[in-house]
């Protein structure tokens, strides 16, 4: 070996002239390295490919004119963006290339932002300054953030847009799920405005749990919440039989009786299922509560808990006192105080108690709890952080029970533990962690949720948006969310509205639910007499809706209290309800309005005025609109509906005053059968 090297050395450098020649050659060759590297660079290869591709197209001349060779760069100091992606992705702005099937030459899909204003890596991540595919797209030693997989791309919208955006359903859903499934009870998420993300679920207090249900049910629930209700928000903590036994023992032992609780059955549960079913339907319980039907489909809303097997859960005494006044047990509940009378409570409780599943508690046999079991149960309750969600006597809500997620979207991959066979990327880690949290090691506490693959992707999208850039973005670049108002009506009427849980469905001044119409301007909109009658006995305004206003058995005094408040307080400054009369419009004007209604504006497509001919099924029925709405409101509504109720589906026809007045005259003359006398009062 040594010999060979020695002779080689002799051959090359033995002679000084030859040595000079060799060194010169090596020097020349090394000089060529840089130009050669440049010449064979990837971006040049792609640009050549691009030029070759467009040569045979019909729009070749235009495309060639747009083409600029060399390294391209988008530089945005505000966003700290130096993106050279357009050096290879040459056709990003060429919409005519949309038939090109593969990257890097496809045009960018239409989005709300301009490429030159936002660059590429703001949304797609990756290393913008790199000029090779591997360095730009993948993690390197010097650059951690790889390209974000397309399915999580909406997370980047969420860095600046703090509220829901119409074009990003996945991000919006993910954020909703974070709040709805109580993730933020355990994981702190600090929002950029300094506030803490709030949960929107309302886990029940367990202080008086023994009043409500049995230890056997708690045991079965802890073992598998979804076996009781498929829609249960509570996740599965995968407790062993003994652990579930001990936690249930502790919860029952720790429960105190509700003061003033009606522990005795004041009314015998009725065994007449038809009466209960009718009342359940008439009270529109299904607007909030779902029940599984015979086919296994859930029917009903998701505001309150599913009631398919509620008879196996609640004690009859508790159910009756709950139906009589839910606020006595839980002052914060979204459930209205219906003011049911005793026969109604009996009928409804009988109907609900019959909704039992015989197999749910069949295998649960628990012996009386021992003090050791109760003590162990208490330890488990602290270990699993139950008090993060549920109030319990004697146990404090733990602070920072689980890792904070404020900047989870930037967590370095080196700090993560991956499962075997998993891709080593942050999005995969987050998605897998949500999918099977307990697979990542022994003794982990995060419970098992039952999310669909789409829900997991949404959650991962929302979490990836919580990153360094989102946290440090200058305020002028952020689009703030509409803050949720904490509006509360005042006085007696305000108390009444809380008691009736009006805000569970209606929105007023930015506060409340979206199931029912916004009532912010209700006082300008409706006639007093109509409102009185409606509160006493709500009738159907919109035939196509399945969720409707229930009847609350209000007293005359309560109705007047509510009506006075609504008519006085909820007035729109732009609508003077007394400025236009409720009758007495010239016949010609009414006739013209009718023509406009059926002809020019074809309102019958969505509304019904004449039940014999009109079939429109989208907007409210207008057969009695003249007894319901004020003329001034109708007139204003014709001209600009969205100004009165943002987001309404009523088309804005930019109507002239003349047309609007004629339609108002026609509509206000629709008093309905037998109502005209009332309206004139």
């Amino acid at each position: 070996m040594k010999e060979i090297l020695k002779s080689l050395w002799q051959k090359l450098f033995g002679d000084s002239v030859r040595a000079f020649g060799v060194v010169s050659l090596v020097f020349l060759a090394s000089l060529a390295i840089a130009p050669a590297k440049n010449y064979f660079s990837e971006w040049r290869y792609y640009q050549h490919g691009y030029l070759k591709m467009i040569r045979n197209r019909s729009d070749a001349v235009t495309l060639q004119r747009h083409f600029q060779g060399g390294i391209q760069q988008i530089w945005l100091p505000d966003l700290a963006v130096v993106d050279r992606c357009t050096s290879c992705h040459v056709g990003l702005k060429e919409t005519s290339l949309s038939d090109v099937p593969t990257q890097p030459f496809r045009p960018h899909p239409v989005i709300a932002h301009k490429l030159d204003q936002f660059g590429c890596t703001v949304c797609h991540r990756g290393q913008g300054a790199a000029t090779t595919v591997a360095e730009a797209h993948n993690s390197t030693l010097a650059w951690e953030q790889p390209i974000l997989p397309a399915k999580y791309i909406e997370s980047s919208c969420g860095e600046c847009h703090r509220g829901p955006v119409p074009g990003t359903p996945q991000l919006n859903q993910g954020r909703q799920l974070l709040a709805r499934y109580g993730c933020v009870h355990c994981h702190t998420v600090k929002l950029q405005d300094g506030k803490i993300m709030k949960a929107t679920d309302d886990p029940p207090s367990l202080e008086h749990i023994a009043d409500k249900t049995t230890r056997e049910w708690i045991y079965a629930w802890l073992k598998d919440p979804q076996a009781y209700a498929a829609t249960a928000t509570m996740p599965n903590f995968k407790l062993s039989d003994n652990d579930a036994r001990d936690v249930s023992a502790f919860l029952i032992a720790n429960s105190t009786p509700q003061p003033g609780d009606t522990a005795t059955l004041s009314a015998k549960a009725s065994s007449d299922p038809a009466a209960g079913a009718t009342l359940y339907g008439e009270s529109f319980c299904a607007s909030c509560h779902a029940v599984q039907n015979a086919a296994g489909n859930l029917v009903g809303g998701d505001v309150g808990p599913e009631l398919t097997r509620v008879g196996s859960k609640v004690k009859p005494e508790w159910l009756q006192s709950w139906l009589r006044n839910p606020r006595a047990y839980d002052a914060e509940t979204a459930m209205p105080h219906y003011r049911f009378n005793d026969p109604q409570v009996a009928a409804l409780s009988g109907f609900l108690l019959a909704k039992a599943a015989s197999d749910l508690l069949a295998d649960v046999h628990l012996d009386a709890a021992t003090p050791e079991q109760i003590a162990h149960g208490k330890r488990l309750v602290s270990d699993y952080g139950c008090a993060s969600c549920h109030e319990m006597a004697g146990i404090k809500k733990p602070e920072n029970f689980a890792p904070e997620l404020t900047r989870i979207g930037n967590k370095p991959v080196t700090q993560l533990v991956f499962l075997p066979g998993m891709q080593h990327t942050l999005p995969d880690y987050i998605a897998t962690k949500i999918k099977q949290p307990r697979a990542f090691g022994q003794g982990l506490k995060m419970p098992q949720y039952t999310f669909t693959p789409a829900q997991i992707d949404s959650l991962a999208t929302a979490l990836l948006a919580l990153n360094d850039r989102a946290a440090t973005l200058p305020p002028f670049l952020t689009v703030a969310a509409t803050p949720e108002s904490d509006y509360q009506p005042a006085g007696k009427a305000g108390k009444l509205m809380t008691d009736l849980a009006c805000f569970s469905c209606h929105r007023i001044n930015g506060h409340g639910g979206d199931m029912a119409p916004d009532l912010t301007w209700e006082g300008s909109s409706v006639q007093r007499q109509w409102l009185v009658e409606f509160l006493k006995n709500p009738n159907t305004l919109r035939p196509s809706l399945i969720r409707r206003m229930p009847r609350f058995n209000l007293t005359d005094g309560e109705v007047n209290e509510l009506t006075d408040y609504i008519m006085t307080v909820y007035q729109n400054p732009a609508v003077d309800r007394d400025s236009m009369p409720l009758s007495g419009y010239p016949q010609g004007q009414v006739e013209l309005g009718k023509q406009l209604f059926y002809g020019k504006y074809a309102c019958q497509g969505c509304h019904i005025v004449d039940t014999k001919t009109d079939k429109g099924y989208i907007g409210p029925t207008l057969t009695q609109v003249g007894s319901r709405l004020t003329a001034a409101w109708i007139f204003e509504w014709m001209k600009k509906p969205q100004a009165l109720r943002p987001g309404t589906a009523e088309p804005n026809r930019a109507m002239s005053d003349e047309d609007a007045r004629a339609l108002t005259a026609f509509l206000i003359s629709q008093k309905g059968a037998g109502k005209s006398e009332v309206a004139k009062k």
Binding site: M1, A112, A150, S544, I546, G605, Y617, Q642, R653
Partner: protein, 244 residues
Amino acid sequence: MICHSLTILTLLAAALVTSCSHKTALVPTPKPTAFGTAIVESSGGKQTAQAGTALPQPLVVQVNDEHGNTLPGALVEFSAAPGVTFDPANGLTDSSGQVTTNVTLGGMAGRYQLIASTTDKARKKVDLRIEEIALGYQQTLGRQLNDQYCERCHNPESTVERVSNFDNLEIKPHPFTEGDTLNKISDADLSAIISHGGPALNKSALMPAWGNNLSKSDIQALISYIRAISDPPSRNTGPLYANN
């Protein structure tokens, strides 16, 4: 020295082989116990989802034997253009002759052709082609507007949450999937109808003017959504992503 370099070379080669084989390692394909003659779609075709996301409903296909009866134990394999993932990518038919898979579409908007294939007794592949639609940002926006403003009249199907108004209209609107009609209407005409109402093109006044509710870009988004879901596909739908 040679010895050393040989070892290094072998080691390198071994590492290369293992790393390559690691990449191509697949979930083991189960052995079929039965062989069908036909494969049909049970549900999950013609769905619409955002590009790169999971389809709302799983894809269910069914294998039948020569008598048209469902066949348990047949192997079904799913494939599609790169970027589409199946969970699981293959499986044996269950007792009702079906295989269910969750599909995540590729990251680019357009139509995706999925292939579900099974082998018959003669070991020949029997293929079933299914199309799914991936929506880009603009089309997603359009779908959202469609849900808010258009669908209640233009979609004849009712759901539990939404009663269709289609049957109540004297002159029927065109469902947006009706490619035969809508593909012949230019973008400019569609835009005119949406912003100025049906009478703008001598059509029914039951179609109101939405020009004061929707912005120009909203209307463009709606049109791009209508083009994306039309059946047969419109020229502007974009490419069809298929295997090879």
